[in-house]
Amino acid sequence: MSAVVQSPPGAAPGGALVRSVRDSLVIARRNVVRMARIPEVLIFGLIQPIMFVVLFSYVFGGSINVPGAGLSPSGYREFLMAGIFAQTVTFATAGAGAGIADDMHKGLVDRFRSLPMSRGAVLTGRTLADLVQTALTLVVLAVVAVIVGWRTHENLGKVLAGFGLLLLLGYAFSWIGALIGLSVRTPEAATSGGLIWLFPLTFISNAFVPSDNMPTFLRVIAEWNPFSATVQACRELFGNLPAGYPTPSAWPMQHPVLASLLWSVVIVLLFRTLAVRKYRRAAG
């Protein structure tokens, strides 16, 4: 019988890397199209952070003392925004997880795994599409923040660098979501599994209040929390740290930009490796 190792007619050229990039983009495109057809996901994804901006600014704003800024609602608002932005990007975890769990559930992952496509592309494509969603969310949120009085005090390059770190953090967390999505049985479980640990993670940090007043062990966690590094870095890059704000002595707080980059890269590498391995073994 004929051994049919034929390339399909009109096969695209390229080696493994080209194929991997191309396949990832095909999948990313598919997920972005889906996103556009289910806009309610994006809209609901925006409501919570906007609510947080408004609630924290106006409800807590007058009562939280930011060292260096004193008890002023406007001072807290500037302090707060980096924290809300960072929390918002980490919610990409739930989206990625639910999306991948849904693909597994519907048998799409089986179809993809039976195709001669790059093994990591289904996950990479999904995380890239989530990055697009995160970027859109951040744009809307920044506009709302400006409306309630948030201002930056550094040059545009630094501000953009801050948003770059936020996007990278969101991208890193969507890989955590991908692993969760591959590990659970239903999209619902992926959503709650993707969110539940985010609350302690984002609250035991410097995002909403300075970490100085926390009990020692929480303060240490907060200072080494990958999430805090990005928040601190953004405050620096946005010029949102009050003049007399005492920077904690922990290394990530002293070098927040570098710490944020390192944390995000480490998370991507670790969780991408784990998720791709899990994908290869995925049961339909």
Partner: protein
Amino acid sequence: MPGAIYAEGLVKTFGDVRALDGVDLDVPEGTVLGLLGPNGAGKTTTVRCLTTLLRPDSGRAVVAGLDVLKEPDAVRRSIGLSGQFAAVDEYLTGRENLRMVGQLYQMRSREAKRRAAELLEQFHLSDAADRPAKTYSGGMRRRLDLAAALVVHPPVMFMDEPTTGLDPRNRQQLWGVIKELVSGGTTLLLTTQYLEEADHLAHEIAVVDHGRVIAKGTSDQLKARTGGERVEVVVRDREHLPTAAEVLTAFGKGETTVEEHTRKLTVPVTGGAKLLAEIIRELDTRGIEMDDVGLRRPTLDDVFLSLTGHIAETGAEAGAGTGTDKTEEPVT
């Protein structure tokens, strides 16, 4: 020379469950094998092993001349898979779904687009091509799924229960599509719970139970082993039973069984409808009134009963082949 699909001693266990217990298959090029069995028999697991989705614990498999364990990527280029659930993205249109699959088969974008249009036409989906698949009926989704499996004209196709959940009209329609495909020379392995379906589409049938192939042959051979066709007659008056039994025994190929309380007589026959007509005529001539009369073909249950002594436990292990909680070793 092994056939287009060849498996030898496939074993796969999930925890304590031996899903495959040494499956052997050999499907000659250009033919159709029907894998027949109840839920949980190992049909889906067999398909998953042969399509590189699952690594068997032991055994060997060759598909399209390629070793499934050693050259999984080359195998993936030569096969089309239509799984148990219509695996289409419901938020993409039919056209977008097919284009995506084409691109993931490494076609150029333009070629994928052209092929998508061709398949939509062939599967009577052109009118719905630009609607999200979510709006499709069950039969349309199935057709789209099948089209996706055919994007590259794969020489070897796998279909896992292609008509499960379809109404009779859609089932008929899909059978037509499958027959057309096979007449083009494609080798096909198809799993089904319906003897009728295997009968209709397959050159050869392999009956699976508890992870093993327990019988193999053409549908005629299997039916012969099962006892073939039977004529069933229900007479109006109980006193006619002896005369009727006499007639049936004369035409039949074995003993006539008589159920007194239901006034029913059954006899194995060969000769189908023609013989049935003769029997009716003879009974009529003798003035025996009938409440019911018919030709009964063996069902999956009959096949199972005669092969294993137990009835197909359809549904008993439903879902055992699709659980997501198993540790599966894949082909990477």
